[in-house]
Amino acid sequence: MELSKEEVRHLIAKRVAQEFKDGDVVTLGIGMPTLASNYIPKDIHVFLQSENGILGASGILPLETADKSITDAGGNYVSICEGGCFFDSLTSFSMIRGGHINTTVLGGLQVDEEGNLANWLVPRKIVPGMGGAMDLVVGAQKVIVMMEHTAKGAPKILKKCTLPLTAQHEVDMIITEKCVMEVRKDGLWLTEISQYSSIEDIKAHTEADFKIADQLKTF
């Protein structure tokens, strides 16, 4: 069964949200990672940290009713949950770099067997800047890369990244519409398979070598 682009994004986001634990401080990257906030299990409370200076950010508010002085890092208007707080960029990145963020979820252009991530620069094409991504990947306790498994059919999980790196050896987990892979000391491990994929499908669309866990789960 072929999933639409939108279905793929939601499938990945839903699986990502399963990684959050009650009380976690989570920083979501701009774009697809933001979708994961829609799927946080109802029985847990997660503090969403946004690098521009808010802990406890709510969902996105409509322009008409929003307080224009409260935004997330994407510039969306949000509100703040009970127990949350505001801070400056220095404190925000002390949280991030200092290891006080439990989990960060970022998009990726390429990830490789050594847990290297490239997601900020395509030379001569896309030069948006790294924003807070380099700090997040270096500092967060757990780094999840959520992305489509391939780009126009080409693998994004590689033996070695070819694009400029965001950080070295920092990725812990990769979640795509096909599978979940963990980056361990001895390389990549396939730990879960999407109900819409198979080991053969994953092998065909992954350049990197990976080992297959004994207890392979399905999502």
């Binding site: 521009n52 960029s89 790294m130 790196l165």
Partner: protein, 217 residues
């Protein structure tokens, strides 16, 4: 006591062509506007903008890019203003991209009298090019140098006559660091208080602030 309140027209007398200019703000949030409008009307050019991002092509400090008032940008993100990337590729604008947390620390170092900061961010990436690597207790760090500007334009939600500032929502961003990191610091007050504010509310002390611009009137 010195009256710190000036008009935007008076403010630009403190800014010269070729100056380095810090501007607070994260995209459109918590960012000064009025002095930038005056710079656009003036002959001032060749500025080096130091900011988190270059905002949007038609908004705030993004207008400095669009109106070619800059020779250099030091920022963490330029992706929301296509004009920055265009001028960079054309070779008319120099752009130094700095990881956001590193930018915050470099500005803080500049204002706090520090010789630099050691950060693990950027190790093994293009960011480490030309920088000194320092190993502390077996871990590698990059030595990042302080940034100090000629002028800082910052935003405050409430500002009292002494220049004490309090903030609402996510408007703090880089404003708190920049308040300490420039020779001349000008704050744009969303609300100007006629009396000194409650000391418990002060986030930035007025001792860092040279001039105040009132948003209304």
């Amino acid at each position: 006591m010195k009256n710190k309140v000036i008009t935007p027209q008076e403010a630009i007398k403190h800014i010269q062509s070729g100056n380095s200019l810090m501007v607070g703000g994260f995209l459109k949030c918590g960012t000064p506007q009025l002095v930038i409008q005056e710079i656009l009307k003036s002959e001032i050019k060749d500025l080096t903008l130091i900011a988190n991002d270059t905002c949007f092509v038609d908004s705030g400090r993004g207008l400095l890019v669009a109106n070619k008032k800059l020779k250099k940008v030091i920022a963490s993100h330029i992706g929301t203003n296509a004009e920055t990337g265009r001028q960079m590729n054309e070779g008319t604008l120099e752009v130094e991209l700095v990881p956001q947390g590193t930018l915050a620390e470099r500005i803080h170092a500049g204002g706090a009298g520090l010789g630099g900061v050691l950060t693990p961010t950027g190790i093994g990436t293009l960011v480490e090019e030309g920088k000194k690597k320092v190993t502390i207790d077996g871990k590698d760090y990059l030595l990042e140098k302080p940034i100090f500007a000629d002028v800082a334009l910052i935003y405050g939600s409430k500002v009292d006559p002494l220049g004490n500032i309090s903030f609402h929502g996510t408007t703090r961003n880089f404003n708190t660091m920049m308040a300490m990191a420039a020779k001349t610091v000008i704050v744009e007050a969303e609300t100007y208080l006629e009396e000194p504010m409650n000391p418990d509310d002060v986030v930035i002390s007025g001792i860092f602030i040279d001039y105040i611009i009132k948003k209304e009137g």
